[in-house]
Every structure is written in C-alpha cells, then in structure tokens.
Amino acid sequence: MTTPPAADKPRSGVAWTSTVIAVAALLLLLTNAASLKGWIAQHPPDAAPAEARAAVDGWWDITSSLGLTAPRASVERLWRGAQALTWPAPPSKPGRTQR
C-alpha cells in the first residue's frame, strides 16, 4: 500500500490553500491600494465614513511612496495606450492634393 504524497492529503489541502490565499491577500493589500481607493470612491459620502476614506487615502499614500503601486500604474498606462490605438489611415491617393 502506498501513502499519498503530501500534496494530496486532505488537511494539507486546506492549509496549503489558506496559505495561498493569505499570501495573495497580503500582496494585493500592498500592491493594489488603488482598488481600495476606487471602491471607497464609488460609495456616496454618507455610506462611507470620512475616517474610512482617510484611512484608505493614507494607505494609498504609504504604498505609493514605497513604489508598490508602480506595477499596477504601468499596466494601466499600457492598457490605456492599447485602448487608444487606431488603425493606420489609408495612404492618400496619388495625384490628389490635401487641403
């Protein structure tokens, strides 16, 4: 009889998944403060207390000053560039003068 590898033990599955989720959540908290900022901005002023807004803004300032928000900002810039792309205009026919 063979014992299942550690990767297939049921309890190890829960522990492994919990660690994955915890690491991902922590990294997203550090690098994705813009998402928090966007989320709180969607709420009307009476739905999100001023303290919560201030805390989110403060967190964004901290992570931004550490350069942690730079990867997201770079991707957003690239994506906006891709959205703005247009097909090249067809060449004007010879013999026609452009006004």
């Binding site: 990767a7 599955g13 829960v14 994955v20 991902a24 959540a25 998402s35 991707v75 959205q83």
Partner: protein, 472 residues
C-alpha cells in the same frame, strides 16, 4: 453582490475561514454556507430570500410526501402539484407581464374590450435557475435517482450562493450526496478552483466588459448608425462577449465551490468548436441542455417514434429553452432557430446517402458558428424589430459599402480573436496546469495568484456590469 468585486472577495474570505474552521462538524458548516448564501442573495433584495426559502421548503415538503407515499398514483399526483407550484413561481415572477401583455394585444386586435390586471412584479435574480433546480430534485426523488434529503440539505441545495443566480443548474443527485459527508479538499481541487476563479475573472472583467462597453452595446443600441463591418464585428463581438461572460460566471462558481470542498459539474466545453448544432448543445450551458434533455425532451418521447416525432420534440424543447431565457419573442425566435437547425441536421443525417462524402470538420465548425451568431443577434437585440434592422443593416451594408469602423479598434478586434481563440486551446488545459500548480509551494502560488489578480484588476474598467445571465 457580484463575484468580481472587492465586497464579494471579503465576503468569501470570511466564509472560507468559517467553513474550514468548524472542522468535521458538517451540519455547522452547511448552516454557515446557508446563512452566507442568504446574505449574498439578500444583497439584491431581502424579499428575494423569503421567496427562496418558500421555494426550498415547498420542494422539501413535496419530496417528503413523495418519499412517504406507497401509491404510485399518489406519488405522481404530488409530483405534478410540486412541479406546478415551481412553475407558478416562475410564471408569476417572470412571465406574468409578458402573457398578460400578449393577451391584451390579441384582444385589442379582435376589438374585444378587456381590462386585464397588470402587476409590476420585480424579477428575482436567478429565479429560472432555482425553480428548475427544485423541479429536477422533485422528479429525481420520484424516480428514485436521488434520496429524499433533510430540510437543511434541500434549502442549501437551492440556496448555495455559488450557483444561485446564474447556474450551473446543479441537480440534487449531484450535490446532496456531497452534503452527506464533511467535504475534504486536496491540493488538486484547490489549484483547479483557484485557476478557474482567475481565468473567470480575466474573461469577465477584461474581455467581456471591454467588448460590451466599447463595441457590442453601442452597435446593438442603434444598428442604423453603423456600417456592415461594424455590425459584423458587433455580432462576432457579442459571440465572444456572451461566452466570456457566462462561462466566466460558471468557472468562478465551480472554483468557489471547489474551495469550499464541493464539486459542481462542468457547464461549458469550448462550445464554438462544435461541428454541428447538436454538438454545440453538448458544449454550451451543459447543465441547462442536459436538464431540458432529461426532464423535457425524453419525457416527450425523445427520438422514439420516428423522425417526425424526434423533430417535433426537439422543436418544443428548444422553444421552451428559448422562453426560459426571458419573456420576449426574441428568445422564442432564438430557440426556434436552434430547433429548426437541429431538425434539419437530424433530417440530413437520415436522408443523406451513405456514399456521399462528409464535409471536412472545419466547414461544420464555421457553419455552426455562424448559425449560432445569427441566433445571438435575436438573443441580444431588445426587440424583434431591432434584430431585423440589425440583419438588414448587415445585408444592405454589404452591398452599399462597408462604412467607417471607429468602434472596431485594434484592441476590440484582438479581444474578439482572443475570446474565440480560447476554443482552439487543447481541451482540459486548465486541469493540466492545475496539476503543475499543486506541486508548487504555497507562497509561490500565492505570489502568482496575486500577480494575476493585480494584472486583471489593472485592465478592468471602473465598476463591473452584471453578468448577462443574471437577467434570466
């Protein structure tokens, strides 16, 4: 509460922690998921939760009576009452206005004065899904395919947040046996679940949202303002959008359930690879098509009774399948189109001389895809007249010139290609990736997961539109 939102992410984190924290106490874990599901559903409207409870308890009572009854006639009678009760909920909330409106129009056309009672009924999210689920549970209990379940299990079967609002339609026979034992999760299940969630997020928030906002919605809103090329791109774009939207929901639902230890059936299998419409319905919204096959087409007689009967049964099934999607003639026409082509395929298979060579597979794929796209125009257009205007613009534009194409940007074109090229990937690719991921250490997978979510979140537009199938 939509899946691809921060609020849902926090909600799921709490639920995940609570369900696994209770360990082997299975009843507690099911109660936690049930209460979580009601909170999830109540985020739309708390009255919907009451309807869901009534519906679940009604099905529990009917199934208990069926199970306790020794007389086959009595069992059939209780089953009929239970199915009618589910249909009454569906008709009252979803079709009442449509049928009364149609009746009023018909009477007015005949110059018969009538003052029919019109009601403003709110459509509860996912009502078509949970009523179909309730009916299948009752039928399965009466046929002996599924054991009668406890009140908690039936209520959770119908309320489980992962499939509640847009499927897959998970049958009692699939889920109730899973409720009996405390779920276990291994790394394979977890890695498949995580990959499905990330893949679903990408398809919904990047491909479907971008195409919907910047191409499909403007083109379908006023087809007369667009040239043939934009209309064609709009139709292809909608084919990519609806696949990426609906399959994304199913992927995320299956992934979320997997992280809680439950297995849901596959709902999509690269549908645009289909070489016939029959093949398409084995790949698209599999939980609905198999439901219609098992509880409608086969009881009607299925393929028994000759070609004419088989065609009749296919047509009835597809028309009802169309109407299931919404109370509108456009959905009936969509179902009718699919039913007609299914009948033609069936007739062709019956009359085609054996000596004739078969068409290459890719021809079947291209033809099937374009029939499906034609159907999507009726499915997406707000009214029948709008669909005809769209088709008119497409046909007329091709003769008059293609027109300017400001909406067909390189990005939109690329996303259509990506949305359709997904169907060219090797089947079961995600499972093979999951097998690699599960062998990695958890911090490395967490890093990769965070990077993927950050990437997707950077590309998504502000806010998330509801999933297309929420309206059904």
């Amino acid at each position: 509460m939509l899946f691809p939102t921060l609020v849902f992410g926090l909600f799921f984190l709490v639920l995940f922690a609570l369900t696994w924290a209770v360990g082997g106490r299975n009843e507690w874990r099911k109660l936690i998921i049930l209460v979580g599901s009601w909170i999830f559903y109540g985020a739309w409207d708390w009255r919907f939760v009451l309807l869901l409870m009534v519906s679940a308890w009604l099905n529990f009572a009917a199934a208990s009576l069926i199970d306790a009854s020794a007389s086959p006639r009595l069992r059939r009678a209780i089953l009929a009452i239970g199915v009618c009760a589910n249909l009454t909920i569906l008709i009252m909330f979803k079709y009442y206005g449509f049928f009364v409106g149609q009746a009023a129009q018909a009477l007015a056309a005949l110059h018969i004065p009538a003052d029919l009672p019109l009601l403003q009924v709110i459509l509860p999210v996912g009502v078509s899904f949970f009523t179909f689920q309730g009916m299948s549970y009752l039928i399965d209990v009466s046929r002996g395919r599924c054991a009668r379940a406890s009140l908690l299990d039936v209520t959770l079967l119908m309320s489980f947040f992962a499939h509640l609002v847009a499927g897959p339609i998970v049958r009692g026979a699939d889920l109730i046996p899973q409720f009996a034992a405390t779920p276990r999760m291994d790394r394979r299940m977890a890695s498949e679940g995580l990959l499905l969630i990330v893949w679903g997020l990408f398809k919904k928030t990047v491909i479907a949202s971008q195409l919907a906002t910047n191409l499909v919605d403007p083109v379908f809103q006023d087809p007369s303002r667009h040239g043939a090329l934009e209309l064609a791109a709009g139709a292809y774009g909608y084919a990519a959008q609806i696949y990426c939207d609906f399959s994304a929901y199913s992927d995320m639902a299956i992934g979320l359930a997997a992280l809680l230890g439950y297995r849901f059936p596959r709902n999509f299998d690269q549908p645009y690879r289909a070489a016939s419409l029959q093949d398409f319905w084995r790949r698209w919204h599999i939980s609905l098509s198999s439901w219609l096959r098992d509880y409608l087409y086969i009881p009607l007689g299925g393929g028994r009774g000759g070609l004419a009967m088989a065609c009749r049964n296919s047509m009835i099934t597809m028309l009802i399948g169309g109407l299931w999607h919404g109370a509108s003639w456009t959905f009936v026409i969509w179902g009718g189109l699919h039913g007609t082509v299914l009948c033609l395929e069936r007739v062709w298979r019956a009359v085609k001389p054996k000596a004739w060579p078969s068409l290459p597979g890719w021809v079947g794929v291209v033809v099937t895809f374009h029939i499906v796209c034609l159907g999507w125009i009726f499915f997406r257009a707000p009214t029948f007249a709008d669909a005809i205007a769209y088709l008119g613009g497409l046909a007329g534009g091709l003769t008059a010139g293609l027109g300017a194409v400001p909406l067909v940007t390189p990005l939109n074109a690329a996303l259509i290609v990506v949305g359709l090229a997904i169907h060219g990937l090797p089947p079961r690719l995600l499972e093979s990736w999951a097998a690699r991921v599960r062998a990695l250490p958890a911090p490395a997978v967490g890093l990769g997961l965070a990077a993927c979510i950050l990437l997707v979140d950077s590309l998504r537009p502000d806010g998330v539109a509801p999933f297309i199938y929420f309206q059904f």
